[in-house]
């Protein structure tokens, strides 16, 4: 039964995508598309745990459901379902709506598949399908900024895929199989484990948006249409975490060096992203940086298990709670951005909207009575197990609460309905309001649900006075600080002097790359002109690359078009002869 549901879950979106591509657009097809993630949700809710070998698929695949997979699947399917319903309303009169739906469905298939993949090859396959199809979502509006974001995204994605392919091949050869079951033990015992861990961290780190691999993220999130940004930020970047959970040797042995590296990268990501985020003006860019910041915290928590294997069960629980919490809150906020773009004339309506938005916004900071509180409680509890640095980590969490608060305040400021209408929707459509409202409520609802079902240990998740106090006062302090600073900051900012463009370090890198590429690939696309173009721009980069390329080109022309080729041929023959005799 569960196997059948799994097959339906993966096949139905693909069939619908094909239908969207081939059949003229009709109402019922759009309805079906909106609900295409439903089988996945059903599987997560009612399917039983299983692992099924599919020998004919790829190199022999294992698909199945376990606790980690179920939680990821539930979140993934739920958010894609919400995004599907939202997208139907959001893109109701978009001329390219059909294209969007095709990419949407294929990306969804990849994302759902990743959660049920139980071996490296099928994981990588679904991961690739998801990543490539998401390109179509990012460049949907074809604006210059979106195309640029898409370019950065695809470069990072291909880099990530390549790193992961090598990692998986190494896993396969050195540990005997890529099946996830028992992989941690096999990897710990294998010879080239440091190479593998490094490649995995880099490859999945790109998806997760860990600094400095995050450059695609703040560009892609604002570029994509709102429902796509919501799933991109809500679940797709977390497949990077899922990949790490599946493949890293967690809970077997202490990998102190890697752990410390992750810890440092996580902390740096958390604070730098929060800082850059507060300087953003586009609400979606603020949210993108908030996601990066949160992923930094996730990496930090993961690092605990790399350093102290004993902490792994606790870390695993904390991470799963965190994933759900962040997924719900972040997509609620993204959905809200799309609604804020609609005109809301009545002031009470705006008030209601902002009040509702405050809930998921503050959930990110770990406010009591939201799932964020539970997540942060788990993380703090796990970090206490890391003896020597637990004091430092307590400070990190405290400061991160404060910085996140500032960041969400910045977000609420930028998203304020009257400040700037982003989209021309006249009235927020029901199809957009309902998923948004449900998600906003769920950040708190899930907290009570988890408490009620007692899924978590009361030692760290119950609402004691001290826990409430420690998680609330930094929020209150940050709000007070923001209220004090708002006037001087406003005065200082009127000139718009402080502004870090979306994608921060991406700008200079792209500039440099473009320089070099332009000299390689002049406008008419003809290679031999490279030298001339390079000389026309007397910068040293151009000059240098021009000389190299011209020389290479001359050499290539020589080799390929002249009788000198015959001489080289003869020379080579002699060399080979010498080699073979020697």
């Amino acid at each position: 039964m569960s196997e059948l549901l799994l097959a339906i879950m993966l096949v139905v979106p693909l069939v619908l995508a094909a239908a969207q591509g081939l059949v003229p657009r009709t109402g019922w097809l759009d309805h079906l598309t909106a609900w295409a993630a439903l089988p996945g949700l059903l599987l997560a809710l009612w399917g039983n745990d299983f692992s099924h070998e599919v020998p004919w698929l790829l190199l022999g695949s294992h698909l199945g459901l376990d606790l980690t997979g179920r939680i990821f699947l539930g979140l993934t399917a739920g958010l894609w379902l919400a995004a599907g319903v939202y997208a139907k309303a959001y893109l109701a009169d978009d001329p390219r709506g059909c294209q969007f739906q095709v990419f949407f469905l294929v990306t969804m298939t990849g994302n759902l598949g990743v959660t049920v993949a139980q071996d490296g090859v099928s994981f990588l396959t679904f991961f690739t399908v998801m990543s490539l199809a998401a390109y179509g979502l990012i460049v949907h509006d074809r604006l210059a900024a979106s195309l640029r974001a898409g370019k950065v995204y695809i470069v990072m994605t291909v880099t990530g895929e390549t790193l992961l392919l090598v990692a998986m091949v190494l896993l396969a050869v050195q540990t005997g199989s890529v099946q996830f079951e028992g992989l941690a033990q096999r990897l710990t015992a294998s010879a080239g484990r440091d190479w593998i861990i490094g490649l995995l961290l880099a490859g999945f780190g790109i998806k997760l948006g860990i600094m400095p691999l995050h450059v695609w993220l703040p560009l892609a999130h604002p570029a994509a249409p709102t429902p796509a940004s919501a799933v991109l930020s809500g679940v797709m970047i977390k497949t990077g975490l899922l990949g790490l959970l599946r493949t890293l040797p967690l809970g077997t042995e202490s990998f102190t060096q890697w752990g410390k590296l992750c810890l440092a990268a996580g902390i740096a990501t958390c604070f730098f992203a929060a800082f850059i985020g507060t300087l953003q003006r586009n609400p979606k860019a603020v949210l993108a940086y908030s996601s990066i910041s949160q992923m930094g915290l996730i990496l930090l928590i993961l690092a605990l298990a790399l350093i102290a294997p004993a902490a792994w069960p606790m870390v695993g629980t904390a991470l799963l709670v965190w994933v759900v919490h962040h997924g719900l809150a972040k997509s609620a906020l993204f959905f809200g951005v799309g609604i804020a773009g609609a005109s809301m004339r009545a002031a009470p309506l705006r008030g209601l909207f902002m009040t509702t938005m405050t809930l998921p916004a503050l959930a990110l900071t770990g406010l009591p009575l939201t799932l964020g509180f539970t997540a942060k409680g788990g993380a703090k509890y796990a970090s206490a197990m890391l003896e020597p640095s637990s004091g430092m980590l307590a400070w990190v969490f405290l400061l991160s609460t404060a910085s996140t608060t500032l960041l969400v305040l910045r977000f609420l400021w930028t998203v304020w309905p009257t400040s700037s209408p982003i989209h021309s929707h006249n009235r927020p459509a029901t199809g957009m309001l309902v998923p948004w409202a449900i998600l906003c409520m769920s950040v708190s609802g899930s907290f009570f649900f988890v408490q009620f079902r007692q899924w978590t240990d009361p030692a760290w998740s119950s609402l004691t006075a001290s826990a409430v106090w420690t998680s609330s006062w930094p929020i209150v302090a940050a709000i007070a600080f923001a209220a004090l600073m708002i006037r001087p900051l406003k005065r200082w900012q009127t000139g718009g002097r402080i502004c870090i463009p979306e994608g921060d370090i991406c700008g200079p890198i792209v500039l440099l790359a473009n320089w070099i590429l332009r000299s390689c690939n002049p406008p008419d696309g003809k290679f031999p002109v490279a030298g001339k173009v390079a000389l026309a721009h007397p910068t040293w980069v151009h000059h240098f690359s021009g000389i190299i390329l011209r020389k290479f080109d001359e050499l290539a022309a020589l080799v390929e078009n002249d009788t000198i080729a015959a001489l080289i041929f003869a020379l080579l023959a002699v060399v080979l002869l010498l080699i073979s005799l020697g």
Binding site: V173, F569, L581
Partner: protein, 498 residues
């Protein structure tokens, strides 16, 4: 003769006889010619399937004629030859269909289809050759029958590239002949019977054997387009699209790669290669070719020329897989023989469709072609993603085994080569996909021709769709019995396990 021998003979004759008849037909007998062509192609596919079924049942297929004392003409169906013959029969069927659509109303179709059939006969014979001499006969026949196809258009440009093609191929063939004669005088006739030299040849004449290996490698290297013997290949892209497709996917280039595979696995054997330390040379040549071809492809504005350099690079994956020595690498090399054929033929079909239907020949003209020719460009996209090695396409399976082979053999630098090639492949294929689907189409296409009620004529559209679907399915369903992967594993098991 036994039924098995008739079957085997039929596989070769099913293109030879129609080919000869076609030469005799009048130029305007288009229907009869097409019927002969398609009938022969369909018959060949059927016969190959019958042989395949027989071999999997354990039947032996062998024909042997004594030419002169001590020199036999042998056709034999073993697992490796069947892999290649299935590929060429299947793709020939599609290419014939494509060529009929492509050459509609153009002159000299008799000559074209006659040599086309002979060319396939040569590649079939080459696949089924049971000893080195038979292999050489068909190898030379392939050179000669391909020349009229390359220069088919008769323009100055095509005649010039034809000259280069002949010069390279004939000198390569000459070197090969010399090497084979030398080798035979040293060790006697070489049969591809799963018993390579190693067993019978211990410690004598190592220097001569090394030299012979290098000569044969150079001879095959011309067709397999190993740098710097690849020069003729990018020039030969002036040929009509179906010829390029055949040239790059099943016939000429693949014959070279197949020859290298035979050389290492069946002539010398991996044991002797290891003892004489010959494989690092092969791996090195292949690695250089892979990087060089990819790098050159990056800067080509002519679509077919870009694809040609891509072939230079991709065919060397086969040599690389054979060269890294080890079962995983060999599997990677052998399946890439099939996978590269399917992917590259799709790309050339698509390029031909663009040129014939829209007049689009340059990369810079490809903007928005995806929406004008969705079927063609969807096929192109799948094949290009396969070339990059993206899962779940066939190219991913190849790359997986090649990289696995490199790790297994401890050749870490080979991983670097594969990674660099993947990245370069992405760099020269992704912009094409981007232009086709995400750029607005121009006001007017360079030279648009209305061809039927689909985006182009059905005969031009159907073949790339089939090969693209195969590219996807051989990757996605690689675990099925009788998939290329399954068959390659079977071949390699025979070679590496006693």
């Amino acid at each position: 003769m036994t039924p098995q021998q008739w079957l085997l003979l039929g596989v070769v004759a099913s293109s030879l006889i129609p080919g000869c008849f076609i030469f005799l037909l009048g130029e305007r007998r288009a229907t009869l010619r097409s019927l002969l062509n398609m009938g022969g192609a369909a018959l060949k596919v059927g016969l190959v399937l019958a042989v395949l079924w027989g071999v999997s049942r354990g039947q032996a297929f062998e024909i042997r004629y004594g030419l002169v004392e001590g020199i036999d003409f042998v056709l034999r169906a073993d697992s490796l030859s069947l892999l290649f013959v299935t590929l060429s029969a299947g793709l020939w069927f599609l290419t014939t269909m494509y060529a009929i659509g492509y050459l509609e109303d153009s002159p000299n179709r008799n000559r074209f289809f006659g040599f086309f059939s002979l060319c396939v006969t040569a590649s079939t014979g080459l696949a089924l050759a049971g000893n080195l001499l038979t292999f050489l006969i068909f190898y030379e026949m392939l050179t000669l029958t391909t020349y009229p196809l390359v220069v088919h258009r008769g323009t100055e440009d095509s005649l010039r590239s034809g000259r280069w093609y002949l010069l390279f191929s004939l000198s390569g063939g000459g070197v090969l002949l010399l090497a084979i004669v030398w080798l035979q005088s040293l060790v006697g006739p070489i049969e591809f019977d799963g018993q390579p030299l190693a067993a019978s040849f211990q410690g004598q004449a190592d220097g001569q054997l090394r030299l012979i290996f290098v000569m044969m490698l150079a001879g095959f290297g011309v067709k397999a387009a190993l740098v710097p013997l690849h020069i003729w290949l990018p020039m030969a892209m002036v040929a009509p699209a179906p010829v390029s497709a055949l040239l790059h996917a099943v016939a000429v280039v693949k014959a070279g790669a197949f020859g290298i595979t035979r050389l290492v696995l069946d002539v010398y054997g991996t044991d002797l290669c290891d003892r004489l330390n010959l494989l690092p040379l092969l791996t090195f040549c292949a690695a250089v070719t892979i990087i060089y071809g990819s790098f050159r492809a990056l800067f080509q504005d002519d679509l077919k020329r870009r694809l040609a350099f891509s072939t230079v690079s991709q065919v060397s994956y086969i040599a690389l897989g054979i060269g890294v020595s080890g079962p995983l690498g060999a599997i990677g090399g052998i399946i890439h023989l099939v996978h590269q054929g399917m992917m590259k033929i799709t790309l050339f079909f698509a390029a031909g469709n663009l040129a014939e239907t829209l007049g689009v020949k340059k990369v810079a003209q490809m903007d928005g072609t995806g929406w004008r020719m969705p079927g063609t460009m969807a096929a192109f996209t799948i094949a290009a993603l396969g070339m990059i090695g993206m899962p779940p396409t066939a190219g991913f399976i190849s790359k997986w085994y090649l990289a696995g082979g490199a790790v297994e053999a401890g050749n870490w630098w080979v991983i670097g080569v594969l990674v660099a090639s993947s990245v370069l492949n992405a760099a020269y294929f992704l912009p094409l996909i981007y232009a086709a689907w995400f750029r607005p189409p121009p006001e007017q296409w360079p030279a648009e021709r209305e061809r039927g009620r689909f985006e182009t004529s059905f005969l031009l559209l159907f073949p790339p769709l089939v090969t693209a679907a195969l590219t996807l399915l051989t990757g996605l369903l690689a675990g099925l019995p009788f998939s290329p992967l399954d068959w390659a594993e079977f071949i390699v098991r025979q070679e590496y396990l006693p």
